[in-house]
């Protein structure tokens, strides 16, 4: 009888519900994770630090220059030095080094590692380690793999530095420095802004669904629910885009965007840019 349950005691969940995280819980956890990461990134971008204090245009141009240096260098030592340079900048910018390195090295084996694995065996060259007769890891293969892994990790680290030390809005403004059309920058900004709104909407939708689900949903029911939710979210986003366009028209938008003239860079921004370009030149010369 329901009356026999104490008011404060939650009803015992069925065994399968206790042990299995369903689609609803996984989706909610993912949405929450994305929002937390976004919040954390914004918090890092506003910390006092070396790179946070620089103009995003200087950082963007420096990043591109250093990426070119990483790509052109034929010396593992030079690329390793550039990686250490990135780590040093992360440290001086008050970024948590452990998180910074984990973010790069945790995912690297999954993407680049899979790519370099065949190269270890297939690249012709002197044998480095012989596994079985006819199958050996070559010295040239190891060298190629090391180059690729180090290049990718250094490039990703540099790009991560830029993203973690700049507010999204500032990065968008920096893009106009590269002569990217204002309308494209406007669309990128709106995309980022409305992803958050749709995430909140998705979160509300799945929470509302969770509050009405008792027990276990079959896989087919979960698939139907996810499909229906995706459809509703798409419809909402279409409605929203129509209304947003009206709001833009209402304030004078006529198909092309105008942005405020950029504020000139300060002396320290030019200094930072000069250091980065100098490091690039030295890296290219040493690694030629």
């Amino acid at each position: 009888m329901v009356d026999s349950l104490p008011a404060h005691a939650p009803a015992p969940a069925p065994a399968h519900a206790r042990h299995r995280r369903g689609t609803i819980e996984r989706t909610l956890a993912s949405v929450s994770d994305v929002m937390e990461r976004s919040l954390y990134a914004e918090e890092l971008a506003h910390r006092p630090g070396l790179l946070q204090g620089l103009d995003p245009r200087a950082k963007l141009v420096s990043l591109i220059a250093l990426l070119v240096a990483v790509a052109l260098s034929h010396s593992l030592l030079v690329i390793a030095m550039l990686y250490l340079f990135a780590l040093g900048l992360a440290w001086r910018s008050s970024l948590p080094i452990e998180t910074f390195t984990t973010r790069v090295w945790l995912f690297l084996p999954f993407f680049t590692g899979i790519l370099v694995l065949p190269a270890l065996f297939l690249t012709p060259g002197p044998v480095f380690i012989s596994l079985t007769p006819g199958i050996a890891i070559t010295r040239t293969g190891v060298q190629s793999a090391a180059f690729l892994l180090l290049r990718v990790s250094t490039s990703v680290s540099l790009a991560t530095l830029l993203v973690l030390t700049s507010a999204w809005n500032d990065l968008l403004k920096a893009l106009s420095f590269l002569r990217i059309p204002d309308t494209i920058i406007l669309v990128l900004g709106m995309t980022y802004r409305y992803i958050h709104l749709l995430l909140i909407t998705a979160d509300d939708m799945f929470l509302s669904r969770k509050s009405r689900v008792v027990g276990h949903l079959s896989n087919a029911a979960e698939r139907r629910m996810v499909g229906a939710s995706a459809g509703v979210l798409l419809e909402k986003s279409l409605q929203l885009s129509g209304e947003v366009y009206l709001a833009m028209q209402s304030r004078g938008f006529r198909g092309y965007s105008h942005r405020a003239t950029a504020i000139p860079m300060q002396r320290r921004d030019w200094l930072g840019l000069t250091v980065a370009l100098g490091a690039t030149a030295v890296a290219i010369w040493l690694g030629r």
């Binding site: 914004e42 709001a247 209402s250």
Partner: protein, 275 residues
Amino acid sequence: MDETIFDLRQVCYSYPPQFVALEDITLSVLAGERVAVLGSNGCGKSTLLKLLDGLYFATAGAVQAFGQSLTEAAFDDDRFNFAFRRRVGLVFQDSDVQLFSPSVWDEVAFAPLQMDLEIDEVQARVNEALSALRIERLRDRPPHRLSGGEKRRVALATVLALKPEVWLLDEPTAGLDPRSQSWLVDFMAAQGEAGKTVVTATHDLSIVDAIADRVFVIGEDHRLAALGTPQEILSDHALLESCNLIHSHRHRHLESGLLHSHPHKPLLAHEHTHD
């Protein structure tokens, strides 16, 4: 004679394929007037404001603003579009719709930049709007990190930076806490006192007295049900009840035990007595 800002003659509007939103609306708004458009949810208030702002175009009848017809062809002319948008500002019901830029500063600067104003003028207008709405501290914040009340203030600032002659406000107090509501009513009253024309769509009867000199009521049949002063409209309970703006319900008086039904007037609870 007062200048007519908006003049609507037998206006109809239908959403495709055939959902009627407004039917046979005839009304006019004079310069400097404070007008409330009352109606229940879904009666067509928001559609009416979008017609007045030249975002939708009448499917029948004629809409004129400042003596000129509001048609798609008229807005294709950049000069007309430019002049009209400078004079009329619309605050949308859903602030999230209105806040599409990555930061509050960019949002408030959007309209002045579209108006091709000099950058110094843009900055001055943005600072002025942020200061008037007491949201300077939010200038670098992204809109998704704002509370509902803050979003509404930023939405108002985006229009204030335009310095429009005409304000169109769609359910401006909806979803706000009492302090923000009170502040917003004061803000709208100040715009009216400054000589601006203010048209507010709402179903919140408690603010009508404070924000309007004249009231249009739209019925659930999407037609103009009545127009008059706030006192005339708010005292007509039969009209308000028929337009779903107040409701009747039964309640019992504790002392007398009398059980009866009566309509709820604006802000009236059960503080009435019976002989």
